[in-house]
Symmetry: C2
Subunit: 93 residues, 2 copies
């Protein structure tokens, strides 16, 4: 069972990440790519990271914009798994 | 300029499609795949159809579920392009 982060821990983790924002039990970030095909490839690459981590964000593709939303549903809130994946995603963005 | 469909035309077109529902100026359908990787592949395939048609649905991937939302934003409503792409998507689902 992954430890549920406290609000203070969430804010500390968010402070080290650019572009991610918290809404309740979720964190999300939007990425604007150069084209729709580029957005598809980015979404697919995020998907591969997610599958490897066994942690799956919601992925919304709206033309060139990809919005990722992370939460640890099984834990009922945000955990280190969410921030670990957010950092991995930022590293490929 | 593509012809904006009337509500009667929309309902006729929807009547010939299984699983698609109208919400205002949009039609949407959810597809549940066998796994998250299968959902990614499906989303990518839909993306290729969309790019070929130069008509881009919103694509939301939530684990094994993919929700597609179609609208002709430039026309301000639903057109034949939306239903043409919906039929193409159904043919590969």
């Amino acid at each position: 069972m992954t430890h549920l982060l406290t609000q203070i821990e969430i804010e500390q983790a968010l402070g080290a990440l650019a572009g991610w924002a918290q809404t309740g039990n979720e964190i999300s970030r939007s990425f604007t790519l150069s084209s729709f095909p580029a957005a598809l490839v980015f979404a697919s690459t995020v998907g591969h990271l997610a599958e490897r981590a066994d942690h799956h964000p919601d992925i919304l593709i709206q033309y060139r914009k990809v919005t990722l939303t992370l939460s640890s549903h099984s834990a009922g809130g945000l955990t280190e798994k969410d921030f670990d994946l957010a950092r991995e995603i930022d590293a490929i963005a």
